[in-house]
Symmetry: C2
Subunit: 361 residues, 2 copies
């Protein structure tokens, strides 16, 4: 068991931004909300999957929407709690443990808010091992957990529930509500017991975020080279492999809100003036290409980092002239099975390419 104190949130936010792989929402607001909630209540107890009782009643939680909208439509901090209470009211269940449904960005921080508000333990795991743009793109779904009931709440107190057998249908219906709730809502979904959670979750992703932040903070203090230190550290984790895929200057961004997502293409010109890199975006960075050759593709992480600070730049903050490193991180084994690739591999995003794991499998 780890406790999450306000001083831990800086590290978590740094690591969450990297795991967000461009998406998951800017963790800045989530960090502030988490700090406020912990200070108003108590430190959050974070437990590992091993520490979770088999009969625990788990729900997963986080925000849904387009990160670009989050810049102006700021959560009140009460939506997660409203969604949880609505879930409990409607189902008659009492939840005993919380898990982020997504690792990365805002969605690593909002579950901390809810855990602080409720006193419930937060499970050090999630269902994406990174950020993905759609609710069915979860190891929970891959390994047989139903997404519904999905409880939604917006910052004005509007509530909704969706019940569907199929996770992609639940996503589609919830997304329709999300759009009409202003493009950004909080939700509670994927109810499961503790034994199931152990089987279907990507482990230790909250602590990974925190450890990434800590490693970078210490490297800064010790004036070590940041990116090599990060890459070395990641190779020691259950993710196991990371690599600098390219560097350059952002020369163009196409980006719009479409069907409730931020979608677009970013062009990055290498410093040696070789062929530009192109990154395809749907909330998250999905595909990195150069001269038509795929350098990295979902589910592996493609992280655009400020070249000086190694801070991750979320897709909604990308702009012309930024100098960036492009870091690739291989996802853990549980996310690379054929069943998993069917749900969140290249084909699930309409990308006509086979997945080849970074660094080989």
């Amino acid at each position: 068991m780890r406790e999450i104190h306000p001083q831990d949130l800086e590290d978590i936010a740094v690591g969450a931004a990297i795991l967000g792989t461009g998406g998951g929402g800017d963790p800045y607001i989530g960090k502030l909300l988490a700090r406020g909630a912990i200070e108003a209540n108590a430190p959050v107890k974070m437990i590992s999957l091993e520490e979770l009782p088999d009969d625990a009643k788990v729900v997963t939680c986080g925000a849904m929407g387009a990160p670009t909208i989050l810049i102006e439509k700021i959560p009140s901090g009460e939506e997660m709690l409203m969604a949880l209470r609505h879930y409990e009211d409607v189902t008659g269940e009492t939840v005993t443990a919380l898990m982020p449904f997504e690792a990365g960005g805002l969605n690593s921080c909002l579950p901390i808010v809810l855990a602080a508000q409720t006193g419930l333990p937060l499970i050090d795991a999630d269902g994406m091992g990174r950020a993905f743009p759609q609710l069915e793109m979860e190891t929970f779904n891959v390994y047989g957990v139903k997404a519904a009931p999905v409880a939604l709440a917006d910052e004005r107190g509007n509530l909704a529930m969706v019940e569907a057998d199929d996770a992609a249908k639940a996503e589609f219906l919830a997304r329709g509500l999300c759009i009409r709730m202003g493009g950004q809502v909080c939700l509670v979904n994927y109810p499961m017991d503790g034994a199931t959670a152990k089987r279907v979750s990507v482990p230790a992703t909250m602590s990974l975020a925190q450890d990434i932040g800590r490693v970078l903070r210490e490297a800064k203090r010790e004036k070590k080279a940041l990116l090599p230190t990060l890459i070395d550290f990641l190779s020691t984790t259950h993710y196991g492999y990371a690599k600098l895929l390219g560097s350059g200057k952002i020369s163009d961004i196409e980006r719009k809100v479409e069907n409730g997502w931020s979608v677009g293409v970013v062009t990055i010109v290498p410093f040696d003036d070789s062929e530009p890199y192109k990154i395809r975006i749907q909330n998250e960075n999905l595909l990195l290409e150069q001269s038509g050759e795929i350098l990295a593709v979902v589910p592996d992480l493609i992280c655009v980092l400020d070249i000086d600070t190694v801070e991750a730049i979320p897709t909604e903050r990308l702009r012309y002239g930024q100098r960036v490193d492009i870091l690739g991180i291989r996802v853990p084994e549980i996310m690379r099975t054929p069943e998993a690739l069917a749900v969140f591999g290249p084909g699930a995003f309409g990308i006509d390419a086979d997945y080849v794991a970074l660094g080989g499998a």
Copy 2:
């Protein structure tokens, strides 16, 4: 108390089509579903508002969507029951009486289906006194009943609930779900007790539909002039006034599905070749104009009737060359108060005109 038997459904469908004022969905499918449900179960008990116990737990029910979609996306007949059971599961309430939320078209028939399936009494009343395209356009809402929780079900068994304080917000969120459920769904909403139902409902609209059908059937048998007989009959009801507003041939129809509604304009050329009539549509007929002069406007009913049979032609069945009479029917007093006109008068549809009741108030 009246009982609704299969042989009553023909009359109800004829009257419901007229009260639908072009919308509410073609009652043909609803009539077949109601016949099947009554034959499989028992006749439906229809009670007046006076017969309703004050402590009854009432919900209202019906279908939401674009009538054009209904032509191809046919209800399974189980959606109403799924929506009701979902409502009861989620709220923990046990419903004791049902009311249509809309008079007219499919939505006069579907509550009969649900009443037959459940054995619950059907209240002879509704919240629109006609068909309207939006959920907040209800006397229930006008006189202070909350629309939510709204329970929705589609023919594939997908379920949802919406909770919002404001009826227009509930409509907006439910419409978003409706669109993603394929443009046509069933729902249960406006929970209230019996005492409230007596205060806020448009009375005796189911029996009015049946009586309209009966009067026309008898007039046909007796070879009376149909339209004058209908107009005379309506003047004896609580609606109190009806008038032939024009006759002609449909010369043009603009119609599309937009934001989940069928919207458009119908042009009808009078037989004397004077200036054409224009009818503006949003699922229902909203406004009748000639040479820029308003001849009738919401909430009064504008009914396009086949000139020979006096059968109402729903907006999705209008086509070039049909010869029609345009019948106006004044709505009852409860629908003409300033509060009511604020919710479903001309301004609520973006029509820049004052409401002037047909035949004077």
